[in-house]
Amino acid sequence: MALLSVKDISVTIGKLNLLDGVAFDIGAGEILGLVGESGSGKSLTAMCVMGLLPRIGGRITEGSIIFDGREMIGLPEVELRHLRGKRIALISQNPMTSLDPIIRIGAQIDQVSTLHLGLSAEAAKARSLDLIAQLRIPEPEAIHGAYPHQLSGGMKQRIVIAMALAADPDLIVADEPTTALDVTIQAQIIQIMVELVRDRGLALMLITHDMGVVAQACDRVVVLYAGRVAETNTVEAIFAEPHHPYTRELIRCIPRLGQAPGSLKGIPGAVPSVVDYPAGCRFNSRCGAAEDLCRNTVPALERKTSGLAACHFSEV
């Protein structure tokens, strides 16, 4: 049974229908990539899984989210808070949303394991130092006593990862954890994070808009487009034989090493905005294969030769 099972959730904020039937599973020890362009609903999906949607005035109108066999939707806030600290951890794009600027780094990491693992102050500190070292931050003692503003962006993000690992969670939700960082730092942090998650057999939901990161790190992939799942499959299949035209196009838009000059073409048009999502398939205004059916009828997320795709005309 999957550790986390998101079943056809739909989300509204005010009058806007922002997610429509989003569904996927994450197994223990699995790295699931959630990809899509800006506004496709990646962060909202993360908020749902974290039980944080009410904080931004959102509501899950349909569907269910089962974590470790229990329905999360409708759980009282106390229980959600316990789940969030202890069993599901969040790493967000901006490390300062997780760090308190006026508390020393060490105290912030220590607190996670005293609170959730019941460790003594001493044991917690030892654990924090160990985690800092595992994230390959030099001079753990010095960093333990430092304040967030004394650290670079890349270091702060590693501290947030250390904090996420500190409670020994079962699932980590990482929302564009390296997007704000320089490329050399991004690559290193992705590598370290993947190693640590694999070593501990944790499940990771890795949200990114970067197909390179997906190819490098993930086992399975969910492709979102305009608030719906376009396709989900193993990472190998997503790149080798994408079933949905959007996935195919998205991969084609990334310049590759040795790509012939003049051969890079974008996807015509732009992602429609929430207020004027087209009827039928939301990709229909940009899809070369669109026909009348696509403009009238929403394609269901269906099983293909491998994985699932939501397209009336995907060949296989």
């Binding site: 670079s152 490329v183 970067d210 196009e249 090493l257």
Partner: protein, 328 residues
């Protein structure tokens, strides 16, 4: 080897020993500190070609861009445009020359006044330059400009907030092209766009270059994009040019260029890689390191590297590198 004269003919812009210092502090309590955002950069920009500049945040790319257009004055070094030394020009002469050299910015929002319609935004460069047009001429000009970047003339009466990021960037390009420049400096023009739109914009820039015979200086932090789009690539680190690759196929030999290449994950799960961990992070530009700027993080650094700064040398065929121990 081409003769010096032939090379001069081929280069639209020549940059020699370009340096820009910034200072901070110098108040009552803080000592005055100086850093070089751009440090002795020399570079030729061949006519009709795309010269790329790649490097991480803070390495001096935008400062270089502003120096090249003389939107910022150099501390030392020269920029010549079509043989004219920009520093020798009076403000009036410089303003005139600006018609021939324009900039496209990363943030399409910043370049367009939110209170202006797109039509007005496109006519603004003419007003700044004091170009007088009849109403009919102005109409024809904006119609042509907007179509040139693939937008509908219906969009002319829109305001910037009604446009998507990609559309705004198209307007930014149209504005830069208004005065028919021959040279465009593109400072991360696609960095805030989704990849499906980035590819559209690159495609547009490629065809405009062919149609209008433009020369580009293209700035980006994305090595694979730069290698795709550019004829030559300059790799910058802490204000310096570390390596100049003469073509997209040239294999980098500088250790920093390799680190960048290494950090670039191909969109292909069969090509996963194991990253060599670099020590530390980019040092503060105020550190004013004596030897190679990359020595603190370089896996091949020797005592020589920490002591003496390697000069940029020609490996042949226009492949330049500043490294004591280039990678094979």
């Amino acid at each position: 080897m081409e003769s010096a004269a032939a090379m001069r003919e081929g280069d639209l812009v020549r940059i020699t020993g370009l340096t820009r210092e910034f200072s901070s502090g110098g108040g009552l309590m803080t000592p005055r500190r100086t850093m070089r955002a751009v440090n002795e950069v020399s570079l030729d920009v061949p006519r009709g070609k795309v010269t790329g500049v790649v490097g991480e945040s803070g390495c001096g790319k935008s400062t270089l861009a502003r120096l090249v257009l003389r939107l910022l004055d150099a501390t030392a070094g020269t920029v010549t445009f079509d043989g004219i030394d920009l520093a020798s020009l009076s403000p009036g002469q410089m303003r005139k020359l600006r018609r021939r050299m324009q900039m496209v910015f990363q943030d399409p929002y910043s370049a367009i006044d939110p209170r202006y319609t797109i039509r007005r935004a496109l006519l603004e460069p003419f007003q700044v330059q004091g170009v007088v047009q009849t109403a009919a001429e102005a109409r024809a000009t904006v119609d042509e400009l907007i179509s040139m970047v693939g937008l509908s003339p219906r969009m002319l009466s829109s305001f910037p907030h009604q446009l998507s990021g990609g559309q705004k960037q198209r307007v930014g390009i149209a504005r830069a092209l208004a005065l028919r420049p021959s040279f465009l400096v593109l400072d991360e023009p696609t960095a805030s766009l989704d990849v499906s739109i980035q590819a559209q914009i690159i495609d547009l820039l490629e065809s405009l270059k062919e149609e209008l015979g433009l020369t580009y200086l293209f700035i980006s932090h994305d090595l694979s994009l730069v290698r795709y789009f550019c004829d030559r690539v300059v790799v910058m680190y802490l204000g310096r040019a570390m390596e100049i690759l003469p073509g997209a196929k040239a294999q980098p030999r500088h250790h920093y260029a390799h680190a960048l290449l290494d950090s670039n994950f191909e969109p292909d799960p069969t090509q996963r890689k194991v990253i060599t961990m670099l020590a530390g992070e980019i040092p503060s530009p105020f550190a004013m390191i004596p030897g190679c700027a990359f020595a603190a993080r370089c896996p091949a650094a020797s005592d020589l590297c920490r002591r003496e700064r390697p000069a940029l040398e020609d490996l042949g065929g226009g492949h330049m590198i500043a490294c004591h121990h280039p990678k094979n």
